[in-house]
Amino acid sequence: MDLLTVLALPLLGALLLAWFGSHRFAAELNAGVSCATLIAVAFLVLHVLRGGPLLAIHEQFFVDSFNVFLVALTAFVGFTTALFSRPYMRIEEQRGRLNAKRLRLYHSMYQLFMAAMFLALLTNNMGLLWVAMEAATLSTVLLVSLYRTRASLEAAWKYFILCGVGIAQALFGTILLYFAAERALGSEGMTALLWTHLNSVKGQLEPRVLGLAFVFLLVGYGTKVGLAPLHNWLPDAHAEGPTPVSAVLSGLLLNVALYAVIRSKVLVEGSIGSYLPGHMLMVFGLLSALLGAFFLWRQRDIKRLFGYSSIEHMGIITFAFGIGGPIANFAALLHMTVHSLTKSSIFFTAGHASQTADTQQMDGIRGLVSISPTIGWGLMLGSLAILGMPPFGVFASEFLVLTTAMREHPWTTPWLLIALGVAFAAIFRKVQPMVFGESDAPPLPHSPALVPVFVHLALVLMLGVYIPLALADWYRAAAQLIGG
């Protein structure tokens, strides 16, 4: 029941906003729907905490410790982003970059996107998972091109074609999975693609078919995670779309895509009985971390910079899942949480920073602290957090990943250290002059909603110092489930 509410609320919100999306109170309605979703998710979480894993509606939906934490994270960041977008989009409208019609599209698609992500996370059916991932792509394509500038159209086209081709590969992987499942489970139509059923017979699935299926699934969903060398769409889409969209793309969609990869990995590893899938994840992850870090140096656009930083961090998380085992999985889950919180808060401040300076070029953004101390310090603290400074949570998770890598695969340690070092130098060097110094830019017409930024950063700080027992239990149970 809770589960259906979680799915129905954003859908209902999308319908309502398709009607009222250009109205004066549309932004408040958007935030209200997101808040209601968050409350419904809280009930779902309580339900699962008390009653354990949950199967619902002919086993089509499934909640366990792995996805329930991602659902909670998604609902939370979805709500705070809606809060942030209220003044942000108002300023954009005032400056004439948007009109009422496009705001309606934005609000409606925002909720549709949330619904698609919840469906992807909650479904037990690998086929529905694919449909939901595709729906998440489609609902964001028009958001990336919301400003209708040449650059944003180009970014959206690239996003559509690259992710479309990627997701087609994932469909082929899903077909192969179904093919293998049909032989093990018999032809039972809908049940043959249920993850729980597949998981219980994974030892009997034909290893050769599953190996091939995993290659396609990894390439397909990996495109959406932004793994190198399939990452090309990511920086463009992050830079050219409106900032709230960049925040949810980076903070949520990448996580959901990685979730799909990990669900497939559990099945495939159980079937072929070797570490091959894990090794593939490690190679892709390490490559993305390195490439993301080195590309940081060349960036001039603030949102592109943090887009590449997302590639780097998704690389680290993928790498950690590739190592497998309870500690690395724990670190990966923790890093997923703190990256999503930190990166969305950085995009909030970066969005307001570029509104203040009226440009996204970092050369043009100067002296943020002197114009608005909250924006300036928010950006500085967020950058320090994402760079893995103690005592922020990113430090804890990166430390765990590094030590595990040192013990299990020593050859990877220098590469990881290089990636982290290069990223640190690049981002710090670019953020520092933006934050400090003098500026004569006027303050923003609407006071920005920066409470989410500091709430996110406070949570990240807390996770670095102390992880609540319930959360640690979740992580541990999820890490157990992923195995490897």
Binding site: G127, W130, E134, R150, A151, L153, G164, I175, R208, L212
Partner: protein, 221 residues
Amino acid sequence: MHRSQLIAESLNLLAASLLLISFAMLSRRRTQRLITLFAWQGAVLFLSTILVAYSAGLTELYASAALTLLLKVIVLPWILHRLVRKLGAQWDSEPLVNIPTTMLVGLALVIFAFGLAQPISQMATTITRNTIGIALAVIFLAFLMMITRRKAITQVIGFLAMENGLFFAATSATYGMPMVIELGIALDLLVGFFILGIFFFQIREQFDSLDLSHLESLREE
């Protein structure tokens, strides 16, 4: 026994013509010809699905065959033709690489696809097992077409052709996916297609052309 052999033979024939159409698409320059070829591909797909449905006695597959006929043979080509006329885009679509080279690359891809599908084909129990390699080859050829073309519409046709290959893989390896999922896929395809339609107009409005070589400003310097 005799009848099932006949069905298997005709399915192989249909699969081969699917591959042939994919090659023809690679060599066509005119956008309108490409749309016609895409419709033909859909028609072949429809026939093969009907055959599989008949031989396996699956009513679900008849429904998905009907869906194919409606969507890929009638609706999508019709909208594409209209779009092309409306946009005045009946011009030539020239590949970046010259056609003989593209064909040779395509041949290599087909061989690669067959190699990749070998272990699966050996295990398939369905009567269409020889066709998985062809399905994979169709997917790869569509991919090649998307890479070598620079026009927005041609890339979309490549994308749709890739989806045809996927659909063929689903019917030939597994008697089709469960109905709900197939409906979901069809819905996604349709919505995606409408978004593309909107896109064409937005791109043309901004660039006065549908040539994607204009879309190359977002590069790493």
